[in-house]
Amino acid sequence: MSKQYKLVRCTINGKQVEKMIDVRASLTDMLRDDYRLTSIKKGCEVGECGACNVLVNGECFNSCIYLAVWADGKEILTLEGLAGPNGEISDIQQAFIDEAAVQCGFCTPGFIMSATEILASGREYSDDEIRKQMSGHLCRCTGYENIFRAVKKTMLRRLGKNAEADAV
């Protein structure tokens, strides 16, 4: 069969875009190859490691096991979309730096996008709930505790609980 393409129109990081996409492409393929958004990492490519995690309509998805054509009509947020107007990094990214939650960095964008979904809810989660919400990621530098602290501190700060955040 000859190559099959489909026009995929979607919003990526707030910008409306459209391109003819090979129907065999995963969302990872489309975001990396067609839009050069390289925060999305190719890790396991079978939905186990979470390195390719992005938000689709506000929910986390492993883009490696999500067909690019399904993104048609959806709103996609990647790590690049967290930057401010002048390229400033967001509070959760700064927290990852402050807590030394980054070592090799390969898992970081995926973790931060899961954290973004948690933080966007505006809820205060228990420690166990945060751990469960972040459990779809593998970090091979074993930085889980620092990652957990970065997420918890940012959650508390956004809720105005700075003193509690400092004590984490």
Partner: protein
């Protein structure tokens, strides 16, 4: 890039049926967390796919006029867990599917896909077995309803005929009204793991909450497909809510289950789990139903 021969995207249920009839070799893809992984592994590589992922009419949970709880086949695990109707009438199903994989998997995985792939370890399946779920299939000859026990034929094979797709999962009112249930997944880690054994129990107590009027129990990974333990159910019915009756029920499941040795766990261990999980899940179900366990 996935090794896909061709992709056909269904725009409606009738269109999906038409595509399946036009392409009899095609594999249905819902959320893809099984199918795409199998393509990556080479098992389903080079095949045609009919995608039903875009069919929003198959999403969501509703209550039908006769009280039947209807779960659209494409409803994701995370949406089932958060659904107010599920929380009110069959909360254990929401708890069970909240133990599938990890958060991202629960956002893409669908309950229809979980049951159509026919595996015994599916976290939704044992609970659906235990609650007498009915599978709704829509095909060229119209709609067909099959009890979930009849839907599973053998490991990896379900009663899905040419041109058919699963459009809903139904829980009849008689199956949920007055029942409380509990699911336990035993696995090696808390996230991103497949059940070594899963056990779902529910109970309906008498008005004075002293007697088990009805008990239903189903397992995943206690045999090649999910299964009910009917002998044990029969042994528990009409019994008082005593520790002794619960233990006796749990021991009786060994007459029903048929686990195997696999690289995940030995048969002996799974038998031990079957008994232990039955006792714990029934105890919890009785407590949820407002009863107490008399020592």
């Amino acid at each position: 890039m996935y090794d896909i021969k061709a992709l056909y995207e269904a725009e409606s249920v009738p269109h999906a049926i038409q595509l399946l009839l036009e392409h009899p070799e095609a594999q249905i893809i819902a959320g893809g967390s099984d199918v795409l992984v199998q393509i990556r592994e080479g098992k389903r590589a080079g095949k045609e796919l009919v995608s039903i992922y875009g069919l929003d009419e198959l999403r969501g949970v509703t209550l039908e006029e006769d009280g039947t709880l209807r779960i659209g086949s494409l409803t994701s695990f995370s949406h089932i867990t958060r659904d107010p109707l599920i929380q009110r009438y069959i909360n254990v199903l929401g708890q069970a599917v909240d133990q599938v994989g990890g958060p991202q998997i629960r956002n893409i995985g669908t309950i229809g896909g979980n049951t159509c792939n026919g595996v015994t370890s599916a976290d939704s399946a044992s609970t659906l077995f235990a609650w007498d779920a009915v599978i709704e299939l829509t095909g060229p000859d119209g709609v067909r309803r099959v009890p979930i026990e009849a839907f599973y034929i053998k490991a990896g094979q379900v009663d899905l005929r040419p041109g058919e797709l699963q459009t809903g999962i139904l829980i009849p009112k008689a199956a949920y009204e007055g029942y409380q249930g509990h699911y336990i997944k035993y696995a090696m880690r808390n996230a991103m793991d497949i059940a070594t054994t899963g056990c779902s129990v529910n109970v309906r107590l008498s008005a004075d909450r002293q007697t088990m009027e009805d008990v239903r129990i189903a397992y995943g990974v206690a045999g090649p497909i999910p299964m009910r333990a009917r002998t044990a159910e029969g042994a528990a019915k009409g019994q008082p809510t005593t520790r002794q009756a619960v233990r006796s029920f749990a021991r009786t499941v060994l007459e029903d289950v048929n686990p195997r040795d696999s690289w995940r766990a030995a048969k002996d261990f799974r038998q031990h789990l079957a008994v232990t999980l039955a006792e714990r899940a029934l105890t919890e179900s009785i407590l949820l139903a407002g009863g107490v366990i008399h020592e």
